[in-house]
């Protein structure tokens, strides 16, 4: 490698590789699917500027087309009022009413021509040479073979470390080369050549074009390039670790391009640079066209038409002085938007309970090792690196086999026997799978994450596993319990039972299963976390420490961990046996509440499922919903975070009276016990990237499902267990499949915080990366005054008062009727029962 000698040139390998990795999709392998802002690379700009830059560089469609907005307008989702406001902002010099007319009548066409690809297209334009057709499939194949986690029966034979070294070793010791020209093969094996030398061959002496060429090449298949870059940064995202780098990957592809050119033209070809006039830098600030402005107007009006009803609704809160007086139980759920509705139903069935929300790892971060597992699973937010390990013990996990995944079926002789014998049995199994779907070893079942009857090593007993400490010390436990309880404002008025309910999901035939689980647990079920938290909070030594610190948990109060399956709408509780007699009786009653709330919740969810009749009884629907979760032919076991739009950080009083239609993340927070914003900081530091990340991934997968989403999942083919591609030779498809986002309305997240504006401002400014989210408007931020409910909107780095234009909201007398009547997004409603209670 000749990194040293490039110092004087205009092309810096390391710098460009770093840039590339920054812009490429950052989605990890399937098992670690974690939501993030798809266009995180543009986040240092204001939202509209960033997405415009992304559009002009890569041709991404980052806003809906005027035609799509017009459809929303005709459905009443966008109001004239908000359109006029947005027009005044973006077209300050024009008559707003005239402009509105123009926007509504003119057929504005967006232009999505990308800048990227300008140099590489010379192959086609000048040489009539389809280099991609000759190179892509072999590069994808070698890379996939190298990274494969267990599909192939015969793994990559070379044990050399690194893609390039291993491929060189492979090609060196074979009689049939991977390359087609002698010259190409020589260049590949010449280890003295670096990227710059290869680029010199392909592009020529014009070094200013090198970086653009690499962008052209990598963004011709962003899926694979991005996967390689991600694995390079997160080697632990593969169980069977592989050393790989973007540099190696690019090197390999360049060699294949050179090889293809030599094979086609012999020595009779010249570097591409000779045929390129001048290339606009891909990331140069683009001109804002009129269509862009029109789309911005539409988008803002679309967002604020909805937000306005929400903000008006929040102001209708019912202040009750003594909410905490009588309590049957408290239940803490994940902030997840899917938990909002179950909380509503639990409160409906038991008006004396209290529900709360916090990120579903419940503030206890650790690696989890299921019994018999050869690896550790991280169960906390992705950026956190835990130092603790919790082991599952005494589990009776059975691993059943499925013959259709038996690798012998791919063997010729054994395959003969299998297809004759098992072939007919698989006809029977196929039939039963289609007519009587049930749980099988191939189902991804949330309750399998941790066995119900197992025990966990929660308390530290001087045991270590490598760098990890097994279990937590009393001090560590107390810190975590205290932190979590304070952040949600649960420091007094403890009910006899406090539930901590994690969540997970179940599905089958779903390579994206990890995206459906708890994002705060790194895409796994939250059962272990809930149970660990409950165990900690029940620990008498921990309670003693807490008492010293001012949190007095009465001795009759007991904590119970649980797991709720958001697909199947089932809840499982752990360690119920340790409850005292009185609490056992209460627990039985509460279980009834949970079960019936789940039926109602299933009914509410079913309004989105066209194949389930929403007018059936809740229990009938619940059975059908459970069946969906194990049906191999069901691409939508649940709709996950689709339609998410809000994140409300505040007391339940702020939202309890509202029907927010599963569109909101709910994080409990009590400003009165956090005047300094100490706990708020922790909440927003997580909420902005986690909820904002989920929101923007849905947003961009929805606006451009072809380039930023994974397209329809129906033709997906699993590649090496790390990603999905269309067909056999296609590029990997990061992002969300169309089935997950089709009902999603792409609006940015509105974060509402029930706290004074100055406290919020001070809090978010503490951390630059958190502040960037708000400052650049990738999420909206609103303050609701804890006392007066006055609303202030965060704009241009300051809070400004906001007056809602909504004047009234409809009442929903019965949630059941409401959900039966709608299949689309339900507007904000006031709940009459909340007003009556």
């Amino acid at each position: 490698m000749n990194n040293a000698k490039e110092t004087s040139s205009s092309f810096h390998e390391e710098h460009v590789l770093h840039e590339l990795a920054h812009y490429l999709p950052a989605q990890a392998p399937l098992k670690d699917f974690i939501h993030h802002n798809t266009l995180h690379a543009f986040q240092h700009d204001k939202f509209f500027d960033g997405i415009l830059a992304a559009k002009s560089a890569f041709g991404y469609k980052t806003l809906l087309s005027p035609k799509e907005y017009k459809k929303f307008y005709s459905e009443g989702k966008i109001s004239d009022e908000k359109l006029l406001t947005a027009i005044q902002k973006h077209f300050p010099n024009e008559n707003a009413n005239d402009k509105l007319k123009e926007i509504l009548t003119t057929d504005f066409q967006p232009d999505l021509t990308p800048r990227v690809g300008a140099i590489r297209k010379v192959w086609k334009d000048h040489y009539h040479f389809d280099v991609s057709a000759l190179v892509h499939h072999i590069v994808f194949r070698i890379t996939c073979n190298y990274l494969d986690q267990g599909i192939a029966l015969w793994g990559f034979p070379s044990q050399e470390k690194g893609l390039l070294k291993a491929t060189r070793d492979l090609d060196k010791h074979t009689s049939v080369s991977l390359f087609r020209s002698k010259r190409g093969r020589e260049i590949f094996h010449d280890s003295t050549l670096g990227l710059t030398d290869l680029l010199k061959l392909v592009v020529g002496n014009r070094e200013e074009l090198y970086s653009s060429y690499l962008f052209d090449m990598c963004f011709a298949h962003p899926g694979w390039s991005g996967m390689v870059a991600t694995i390079e940064q997160l080697p632990s995202s593969l169980l069977d670790r592989k050393e790989i780098s973007l540099r190696d990957f690019i090197h390999l592809e360049l060699c294949f391009e050179i090889d293809a050119a030599y094979n086609q033209f012999g020595e009779n070809w010249k570097s591409l640079g000779a045929f390129v006039d001048q290339v606009n830098p891909y990331f140069e600030k683009p001109q804002v066209s009129e269509v862009d402005l029109v789309q911005r107007v539409w988008q803002e009006a679309f967002e604020w038409t909805y937000y306005d009803t929400v903000l008006f609704g929040l102001q209708q809160r019912i202040k009750k002085p003594n909410v905490h007086s009588v309590q049957t139980f408290q239940a803490v759920f994940c902030i997840d938007d899917r938990e909002g509705s179950i909380r509503r139903y639990i409160e409906l069935l038991d008006p004396h309970c209290e529900t709360l929300g916090m990120p579903g790892f419940f503030g206890v971060e650790f690696y989890f090792q299921p019994q018999g597992g050869k690896f550790h699973e991280k169960v906390c937010p992705a950026p956190v690196t835990p130092k603790h390990l919790i082991r599952e013990e005494d589990a009776t996990r059975k691993t059943n086999k499925e013959v259709q995944f038996n690798k012998n079926s791919h063997h010729n002789i054994l395959g003969w026997a299998l297809s004759i014998v098992y072939g007919f049995w698989s006809a029977v199994k196929l039939m039963s799978n289609i007519f009587r779907p049930g749980i099988s070893p191939a189902t991804s079942l949330s309750f399998r994450h941790m066995e119900k009857e197992s025990t966990l090593t929660v308390e530290h007993t001087h045991e270590h596993d490598g760098d990890l400490q097994v279990g937590f010390t009393v001090e560590e436990m107390a810190n975590r319990v205290e932190g979590s309880l304070r952040s949600i404002g649960l420091v007094k008025n403890f009910a006899p039972i406090v539930y901590f309910i994690g969540h997970g999901s179940s599905s089958v035939n779903n390579p994206h299963y990890a995206a459906y689980d708890c994002g705060a647990c790194s895409g796994r079920a939250g059962s272990a976390n809930a149970r660990v938290f409950a165990t900690m909070a029940n620990n008498p030594k921990v309670r003693m420490v807490l008492r010293e610190r001012g949190i007095d948990i009465p001795s009759y109060t007991q904590f119970v961990g649980g797991l709720r399956d958001t697909t199947r709408d089932q809840t499982v509780f752990y360690d119920g046996g340790m409850l005292n007699e009185e609490n056992k009786a209460l627990h039985q009653k509460n279980k009834w509440t949970f079960r019936h709330a789940s039926d109602l919740n299933a009914k509410e969810r079913s309004r989105r499922f066209e194949t389930v009749n929403t007018s059936l009884t809740p229990w009938q629907i619940h059975k059908r919903v459970m069946r969906r979760s194990v049906s191999i032919f069901e691409p939508r076991p649940e709709l996950n975070h689709a339609t998410n739009a809000l994140c409300i950080v505040g007391t339940r009083q702020l939202t309890k009276h509202l029907f927010l239609d599963r569109r909101s993340f709910l994080n409990s927070y009590d400003a009165t016990i956090d005047p300094e914003g100490k706990y708020l900081f922790g909440i927003l530091k997580a909420a902005a990237p986690v909820c904002g990340g989920i929101n923007l991934e849905y947003y961009f997968s929805r606006t451009d499902n072809y380039k930023l989403g994974a397209g329809t999942k129906l033709p997906h083919n699993v590649m090496g267990l790390i990603g999905v591609a269309n067909g056999v030779d296609g590029d990997l498809r990061p992002g969300l499949p169309s089935q997950m986002i089709e009902v999603h309305d792409p609006v940015r997240l509105l974060i509402v915080v029930e706290q004074l504006p100055n406290v919020i401002l001070k809090t978010i400014q503490t951390d630059a990366s958190t502040y960037e989210w708000f400052k650049n408007e990738w999420v909206h931020l609103v303050s609701v005054h804890p006392e007066t409910a006055q609303i202030q909107v965060f704009q241009n780095e300051a809070f400004v008062p906001y007056t809602t234009t909504t004047t009234s909201l409809p009442y929903a007398s019965s949630m059941e009727q409401l959900v039966e009547a709608h299949t689309e997004n339900i507007p904000v409603h006031l709940l009459t029962q909340a007003h009556e209670n």
Binding site: L112, Q159, T174, I420, N705, G711, P715, D729
Partner: protein, 623 residues
Amino acid sequence: MKTELEFYMQFFLWLPLASYILSLIPGKHHEKTISWGTFTSVLLHLTFAIVFLIVWGIDGFQNLSHREWVLYQTDGYMFYIDFFFDKTTATFLIMGSFLTSLVTVYSRYYLHRESGYKRFFNTLLLFFFGYNLVIFSGNLETLFTGWEVLGISSFLLIAFYRDRYLPVKNALKVFSIYRLGDIGIILAMWLSHHMFHENTAFIDWSSEHLQHLLHEHESTAVILSVFLVVAAAAKSAQLPFSSWLPRAMEGPTPSSAIFYGSLSVHMGAFILIRTYDIWSHLLSIKILIIILGVATCFVATGIARVQTSVKSQIAYSSVAQIGIIFCEIALGWNTLALIHIAGNAFLRSYQLLTSPSVVTYLMKDMFYNFNPKKKNIEGKVSKKLEYTFYVLGTREFTINMFLYSYLWNPMKWIGRKIPLKSKSLLVITTMLFIAGTILLIGTDLSESTRHIISMILGMIGLVSVFAAFTERENTLRSWLLVCSNHFWVALAVTFNEHYSWEHNIIYLSGVVVAMGIGYLLLNGIKKKEGKLDLNNFYGLGYDYSKRAFAFLLCALAVSGFPITPTFIGEDLIFSHIHEDQIGLSLIVSISLIIDGLALVRIYARTFMGPHYKKNHEVADRAS
């Protein structure tokens, strides 16, 4: 009882055909009507099949044969639709009906809200019709009709996601290989016609008279069988065609499962069993089939072992099993072969339908049972051997390249060498054609002269179709060139033998009408868009969906798809080529293959692929 059963056979075809036509009626968004309609008809088919089988069994498993319709008849020539039923048909019937009904239920939910929902079920029924036509066929003509339907419905299903590049490209690839198989059957039809001096039904082949003829003309029988083996190998993805099968996995998973996992891919085995009487006495053919089967089995297994995508792994494993099935058939173990076919079809369908689950299943397996690989390769020789096989598997034994290098690329090379430019071309073609016709009418030539002239005319047709196939700049020119081929063929055959104008009218009637409409359609689009070439896939179906469909019908008509009399005409043409004129028959058949390819190429490049206008979101080329 037998006559009743024979009579009822036709319902297995009417049912899917009628439901296909009915399925075109409901609007795009009437998912329930579409899927229930399809399911009802397939379920009815299955029920009917079960009842039919029971009655047939009670009746003693006799072979059934029924001449259905004579479509055309003159002296010594008859084109008729004929049905046949035996245990092979029975196996394929129950297997096809069962799997199709399961996949219909599966797809009912799976395709929910997909924009091509209706199109999917339409094509599924069309495919199902073609499948039944093939398995019930009683003669090569009927089989060929079904074969064409299978080919086009496969093309449409693979290119189901027509707004992306790879599905369209792969659909073309698969179609071109199917086209090779078509030509195998056309030539087999031609030879059998000459050998038996009549149109024969499968049921006659075991008769003493035809067996005698087969033994008498052994060399002809060998050539005939080779054509059949080529057709079978192409359809069942045997060497050297194997690489099309994994690339056909571009549509929704259920369609891949049923067509390429199970039904379509076993059609080659079907044709071998069906034509067993033709080649069962020929040791050389048996050896050829066994070599082919064994070689495919080993090569495909080798490739399957290194596949890291779950669908291609299943595809190659299936191909390997079909290799074994070919051997079983060659050895005369037909019952075993049928069991094997059904077992393989069920297993692979099931594997494909549950293939997305492989992540959950194998990741879990790995999580609990992972053993880091510890392997040391001893010795240089074994390492070299291992690596070589690994690279061969990874490169799919270069069979994917094979067809490009030895077939398509030379064809393109020839095409590019043809110096034909638009206007002069049209003038020259017309003048030559008129001259030829005058020559024909005005003179009385000797037979050998006629044969030479017809060869030359055939060559001109072939050249124009090559030029059409490689044309890049002008779509209209390509279209006219393709169509003109049929006129050259007609003229060539007219010279070859005193042959009635009636036949030519039958042959050219469909072509002329479709050519005119197709020209108008393309010309209209050209005027609107300002240009129309074949340099790229333009995805104009996005703007002109109705015209795309109309043009597809025109292209199908010109290619001799069984929707116009041209289809029968093609067969008629061949009846005028003598048994000893292998040269002329090759020229004509090759020109017909490329003719079809060029037509589908025009359709695909104009209407399919990512839309070239960038005013809405389009897929990356590699995706």
